[in-house]
């Protein structure tokens, strides 16, 4: 069964018919070909599918697509500008080598984005707590924390 929903996706107004049992993750990946958000576990445990919904980071694998009704959705694809200019967080991840295989990276950046929106000057402990729901098997997290910290420092300046 399908139902029509309305939402904003990366700044664009959308009207969309979606199966009522489809997850938000499946909708953005399958219906909109936005494949930056990944399915790492399908159970809300790894954070690879993180997107920002009305300013909050959510695990898109745990949210039903129909819950997006009336919401403002931001995925990793919407983070860079129209001329492909990178968000400061994206630049900081490259600058700090805060990524390796890249599979957790979109989710990690979206979590960090929501964190910095809410708390522009987090401490290292707050950053660690903020990204503790996003698993990375490659980096050991150090450079990810440094990347987020560097953007937070820019916020201060």
């Amino acid at each position: 069964m399908k139902t029509e929903i309305h939402f904003t996706l990366n700044g664009e107004s959308i009207e969309h018919e979606v199966e009522v049992n489809k997850t938000l993750l499946k909708m953005i990946r399958e219906d909109f070909d936005l494949t930056g958000a990944k399915e790492g576990c399908g159970a809300g445990e790894c954070g690879a599918c993180t997107v920002i919904m009305d300013g909050r980071a959510v695990n898109a694998c745990l949210v039903l697509a129909v819950e997006a009704e009336g919401c403002d959705l931001l995925t990793i694809e919407g983070l860079s500008g129209d001329q492909n200019e990178l968000d400061p967080l994206q630049s900081a991840f490259i600058e700090n080598a805060a990524l390796q295989c890249g599979y957790c990276t979109p989710g990690m950046i979206m979590t960090a984005k929501a964190l910095l929106n809410e708390n522009p000057h987090p401490t290292e402990t707050e950053i660690k707590a903020g990204i503790s729901g996003n698993l990375c098997r490659c980096t050991g997290y150090k450079k990810i924390i440094e990347a987020i910290q560097s953007v937070a420092d820019q916020n201060k300046a």
Binding site: Y103, T105, K128, C136, R137
Partner: protein
């Protein structure tokens, strides 16, 4: 140097931070079909019958296959494995049938409708038990299997490889030694846990040409395995690995590709996809084998190790096509990075009815060092010397000999040890954060050699473009370690053009040249050397044309910033863009044509070891040595261990990219920390009890310690610019260093991993 040794930014960075890099699961092909697998609920059972009638009747089901349709066995080193079980299931979760359907949901529903009748057999769930003569046989037909001649299966038993090392006369030394120390250790199964699960798509054209998109570390090895299994010539089989979301060894061979190929063959051009769920990934991807280790050491009162005798019993799981090599690698490394005259080792790979063992970062090494490095600390304490002193006395120095009798020419182990002792402030104490906590420090050494066939080869092609840019083609896979960037840096350095002018292409067996496998920490060394050779070949062609153009001898020319320049008169020069398509003359004629550099490489002079003794003067290409020191804080009330600080130093030969190299070490330390403190694939009667992130925890940002990363650079003679591999070795000392630190803090010596809070607390209470 301009680019080697610099923290050049990742060439795949923008694609990865924007989420635009397409991994296999992101590929959308029209009219895609989906596969699902029916799995055995028993660890060991004969398959009596499989009834697929109800499943076949389900609308949307295209085809169902069972194992008996594909009886040909395959495997990298020992051909013992089928893509689906034939005749009997050997582990709980083994595929017995598979469905291809219009949607994933239909495929899964059809799987549930397949009825399988089993005759349950007694299972082997412990490798030590499995070695006994009365144990049920997992592979009764082992004697009929094919294997590479460097392995020694024992048909009629569950032993799929018995590796022996006999250096000197260890039994005689033990009779007369002043001190003999004997300890047993156990390392459980762990999982690799890449964040991307295994996934593959297969599509066959009407003319029989098969394309496979796979999340795999080694497209050429996958192509070879699939070609052999399905009788498809290599020129009709293309394997693409567009991006890999983490491997750590789990994607080294072929896992699920073979299940979808039969469907693709009958799907009239429709692509067929199979993606592992996280549960599949925990249960049905390669696991790190469990290890029972017994280490006996003879030592004199000065602390010199006179002899070691090791017994390693590996829980290889249901199939050991890769695992036999883990037993071998652990065997020839069994002396550890120490200069010991008498070494006696037996390393057994044993079939069990457990998930299939396979390569995991530093395979064999992390497991054996957990014992070797604790054993050393135990000996040091008995003799009243420090952990540093015993390692100084016995640690490998140039001129020493390895366990196989190879004379060592390069080892920075002592420099690494000094550096780590200084960085971790080994002899100083720091105050615990509360009176109910205690702190301690530990140290461990480690070594590893690439565990690969002697003739494991690499190749590279560099094509110059008419604007002075270039394309670099290799099949070394960037699985996160940064090889695309490192290969680009090596090419940039030789050609003297900036890395931005080079585009690297990888992972397509039709278009990128041969690479054996992206494993064994061999890529910077071996593929890097092929890139180095390819660029020198291109340079040679450029200089040939330039000496005609400039009238200057080749020996007086060099590449500099996009030009061929005279070393003597720097204003005499010609741009490489002008020569890229050949040399043009004033009369309009031209010679040579496009500049294409070719590089091929096989590590030189690696020879088989003696079959009887395991001795060999050059059985591996190089050894990478390193040391880690850690500081821990243990909560006396809960037993919880917090790793506060880790200092690491490795001899990498040459640092090609400091920032990426640090990333490899940091990642390895945290992975090692996970295995040391909480990771374990819990098995009961062959069943995985914790196949989810809820029950199998991997480290999070909260677990990250402070890390001090240093390197020493004693060049590798045949490596590009002297580089050797380190991404795996970096994990080897992590767990034993933590174990030694826990002992230092609490006096508790734990000889099994993981060293959980429960275990530490129970041990403290029992003291």
């Amino acid at each position: 140097m301009k680019f080697v040794g610099k923290s050049v930014k990742r060439v795949d960075g923008v694609k990865k931070v924007t989420g635009t890099l397409k991994y296999v699961d992101d590929i959308k092909l029209s009219r895609m079909l989906y596969a699902a697998v029916k799995r055995s609920p028993h660890a060991h059972a004969n398959i009596i019958s499989i009834n697929v009638e109800k499943a076949r009747a389900l609308k949307g089901v295209k085809e169902i296959i069972t194992g008996d349709q594909f009886e040909r066995r395959g495997g990298l080193y020992l051909e013992d494995k089928n893509f689906l079980a034939v005749g009997k299931a050997r582990y709980r979760g083994e595929g017995v049938a598979a469905v291809c359907a219009e949607t994933e949901e239909i495929a899964q529903n059809a799987v549930d409708l397949i009825e399988v009748e089993y005759e349950v057999l007694p299972a082997v769930t412990n490798a030590k038990e499995g070695m006994k003569p009365e144990a049920p046989l997992v592979h009764p037909d082992l004697g009929d299997y094919h294997w590479a001649p460097v392995f020694f299966p024992k048909p009629g038993t569950n032993i799929s490889n018995h590796y022996k090392l006999r250096k000197g006369d260890a039994p005689e030394i033990f009779k007369e030694a002043e001190f003999v120390v004997e300890n047993n250790f156990y390392v459980p199964h762990v999982q690799h846990v890449p964040i991307e699960t295994h996934t593959a798509i297969a599509q066959m054209d009407a003319d029989g040409y098969l394309t496979v998109w796979a999340s795999c570390q080694s497209p050429y090895a996958v192509r070879q395995a699939l070609s052999a299994a399905f009788d498809i010539p290599l020129n009709k089989l293309r394997v693409l690995s567009p991006a890999v979301g983490g491997g750590f060894g789990s994607k080294a061979g072929t896992t699920l590709e073979g299940i979808i190929i039969p469907f693709a063959m009958h799907a009239k051009g429709r692509p067929v996809k199979l993606t592992y769920s996280r549960q599949d990934e925990f249960e049905n991807a390669y696991v790190r084998q469990g290890l029972h280790a017994a280490i006996k050491t003879a030592v004199n009162k000065e602390g010199k190790i006179l002899a070691v005798q090791n017994e390693f019993i590996w829980d290889g799981g249901a199939y050991t096509e890769y695992g036999v090599n883990i037993a071998k690698a652990a065997g020839y490394a069994s002396a550890g990075p120490y200069d010991i005259d008498n070494v006696w080792t037996d390393s057994y790979c044993v079939y069990t009815n457990h998930p299939v063992g396979g390569p995991y970062r530093g395979f064999g090494m992390s497991e054996i060092h957990f014992g070797i490095e604790q054993n050393l600390d135990i000996i040091a304490e008995k003799l009243g010397i420090t952990p540093v002193e015993i390692r100084k006395i016995n640690g490998m120095k140039p001129g020493g000999t390895t366990g196989t009798g190879e004379v060592v020419t390069v080892s920075g182990l002592m420099e690494c040890l000094d550096q780590v002792v200084e960085d971790i402030k080994f002899y100083e104490r720091s105050e615990p954060s509360s009176p109910t906590k205690v702190r301690g420090k530990g140290i461990a050494c480690g070594w590893k050699a690439p565990s690969m066939p002697n003739n494991a080869a690499s190749s590279a092609i560099i094509k110059l473009n008419e604007d002075g840019t270039a394309h670099l083609l290799v099949s070394a896979q960037d699985i996160g370690q940064g090889s695309d960037t490192v290969m680009t840096q090596i090419a940039a350095e030789v050609l003297s053009i900036s890395p931005e002018k080079i585009t690297i292409k990888t992972g397509d067996t039709d278009h990128t040249p041969y690479e054996w496998q992206t494993v064994a920490s061999r890529i910077t060394y071996s593929a890097g050397r092929a890139v180095y050779e390819a660029c020198h070949d291109a340079m040679d062609q450029l200089l040939d044309l330039s000496q005609i153009k400039l009238g200057i001898f080749k020996r007086d020319l060099e590449l500099r910033d996009g030009y061929v320049v005279s070393k003597i008169y720097p204003d005499k020069k010609v741009s490489i863009s002008e020569l890229a398509l050949g040399l043009n003359f004033e009369d309009g004629s031209a010679i040579h044509g496009p500049i294409i550099g070719r590089g091929s490489f096989i590590p030189p002079n690696i020879r088989n070891a003696d079959k009887k003794t395991g001795l060999g003067d050059h059985p591996v290409v190089f050894w990478t040595y390193g040391v880690q020191g850690v500081e821990v804080e243990v909560d006396l009330e809960t037993g919880q261990t917090k790793v506060l600080k880790v200092a690491s130093c490795f001899d990498v030969g040459r640092v090609v990219n400091p920032q990426l190299l640090e990333g490899q070490i940091e990642g390895a330390i945290v992975q090692g920390l996970g295995t040391a403190l909480f990771e374990e694939l819990m098995l009961k009667e062959g069943k995985v009890l914790n196949p989810s992130f809820v029950d199998y925890k991997i480290p999070t940002a909260d677990d990250m310690p402070e890390m001090i990363i240093k390197f020493v650079e004693n060049p590798e003679e045949t490596g590009p610019f002297g580089a050797r591999g380190v991404a795996e070795p970096a994990m080897v000392p992590s767990a034993p260093a933590i174990a030694n630190a826990i002992y230092d803090a609490t006096g508790i010596r734990l000889n099994t991993m993981p060293m959980t809070a429960e275990k530490v607390l129970a041990a403290m209470q029992a003291k």
